[in-house]
Symmetry: C2
Subunit: 132 residues, 2 copies
DNA sequence: CAGCATCCAAAAGGATACTG
DNA sequence: CAGTATCCTTTTGGATGCTG
């Protein structure tokens, strides 16, 4: 009843801070922004895909890295893995509700890249000319 | 005048596609989602910061990686470097207009992490318990 | 089809020492 | 203060071969 009964959380602030190297948020950041994380999550934003579909959708990814990154994302609760009992078994991956909420902001990020890659490349050329 | 005079761009589609491993968008993606890229850009979203301020704001980053990542972001036209002619010289970094437009979506992304790191950690524990 | 295990090369990145 | 240079360790990740 008393105000003093409110227990202060000491381990971590309610809002996790990726700027703090010891906060779990830093690990979450690294998983998502891993080399293939953003692309996998965004690809699944268009709906469930099978392993081989992901493999062809995402240019240049190896089966090892696709499998490995998917496992991490499944463990993080962002992606769900479903085995269809056919022969041969088909395995499909889809975003969880949690992953879906994330994919929206990642989609915005990829949209920015789509629009502005040309500007970045221009800037690179200008920079290389000016500093030789 | 004729429709045929419209020249088709063959090198790259107007919208750059990070899913294509040969598209420059892939490099842009890698620069921004590099280990320290998101944190540096988001930190600068709050206004210009000096080298040492960035160093203390971003926990765990080494001077080498801060310097190296900043150089990449400056070359990409996302960050501007300004030397103030004092003694000793102070160097401040700020977002360019281009970088500012990006930092908005990155801020949303970090906001998602702030809100949902707890959910991810929960999912990890559940997963580890279920699969042992 | 959907992976996993192993090996190995390359890249990333930290520690340290030094500079204008 | 704001870096750079070097060294060296760790991590990443691709290639290959094999499995249910």
């Amino acid at each position: 009843m008393a105000v003093g009964s409110q227990v202060r959380k000491v381990d971590w602030p309610v809002t996790s801070d990726a700027f703090n190297s010891d906060c779990p948020a830093r690990e979450v950041l690294s998983h998502i922004t891993s080399r293939w994380g953003v692309l996998i999550l965004t690809a699944l934003g268009g709906g469930p895909l099978r392993f081989s579909e992901l493999h062809t959708t995402i240019g240049g990814i190896s089966e090892k890295m696709l499998s490995q990154t998917l496992r991490t994302l499944v463990r993080d609760g962002l992606v769900a893995r479903a085995v269809e009992a056919t022969t041969p078994p088909r395995v499909s991956y889809r975003l969880t509700e949690l992953g879906d909420s994330l994919a929206e902001s990642l989609q915005q990020f990829l949209d920015w890249i789509r629009l502005h890659t040309v500007d970045v490349v221009d800037a690179q050329h200008r920079h290389d000319r000016e500093t030789r």
